[in-house]
Symmetry: C2
Amino acid sequence: MLMTRKGANLALLLLGGFRQLADAATAELSRRGYPELRPTQEFALRAIAAGATSASELGRRMSISKQAAAKVIALLEARGYLARLDDEADSRRKLLVVTPLGHQAMQAGEAIFDELRSVWAQNIGAEALDQLERNLALLVGDAGVDEDAADWSGLDVQ
Amino acid sequence: MLMTRKGANLALLLLGGFRQLADAATAELSRRGYPELRPTQEFALRAIAAGATSASELGRRMSISKQAAAKVIALLEARGYLARLDDEADSRRKLLVVTPLGHQAMQAGEAIFDELRSVWAQNIGAEALDQLERNLALLVGDAGVDEDAADWSGLDVQ
DNA sequence: TCATAAAGACAACCTAGTTGTCTATCAACA
DNA sequence: TGTTGATAGACAACTAGGTTGTCTTTATGA
């Protein structure tokens, strides 16, 4: 076996990179007073704040089923980051509203990820990191934009 | 909100990249006759073939608990990719052996990931992809090498 | 030989998804 | 004005992939 430069290795590097950032962010969120908030949940919160104000819409924007979205919403509501109000315009819907605590958590999460990114920039150089992001955006972003999410700042996962 | 070049976006790009490769690989593995094999399981198979011949050892190499490793092993065994033999040298251990079907699946998985990687190379250029990998390896690989896994070709996730 | 460490089995639980079924509601159209 | 079809969300059951904790069996080293 040659074991040089394999495709599987690329996949593992990407996963490893995400896990490293996500784990560090989880730990730091916990340290800053948000112990039960994982990055995925924080991303969902961000999507809701950006306009995904119903479970079905959140599911569409995150490319997950509405049932999966409902579970994230239930968690976020239980932890006080989110409120579900009755939508007077459409009584089927529950209107999702980010609480003040939720906004604080989002700010903390944003700051943490920015800090983690700047550590990476120090490690490999700002330009190299910019380039890495640009190339990844070309590879991932283009393939995964679904029309409804186009105004959501490229934060859609798939 | 400025929404330029945020740290969270970097994390999502990495996750998105992995998911894209993993989803494509899962679909292609299914198309080639291995419908119940996910990339994570294939990576575990690869680790076992590379010498992680017990559940505890697999757990150490993949940086997961031995119980989690045992679950992956149970799945792989149930699908016929793996056999668990009695280790005559140590009767506590079950010796993990990749079956012929397992080896076929690994070969298919390797080919698929290599093909996916070459599609990416076509999209952004071979040099750009090499550089992306080198930089990611610097960021991720160095932080995550645990001594026992050092001889395992950098395939460790964490 | 005996204390300790390690391997694995088993159970209970969590997160993050899935599909399927069901009810309530809205919206559009004959 | 109704009826019909799409949508929102609740609920259940399931899967994958993890966790911690407890337990028994077996090695191993002082």
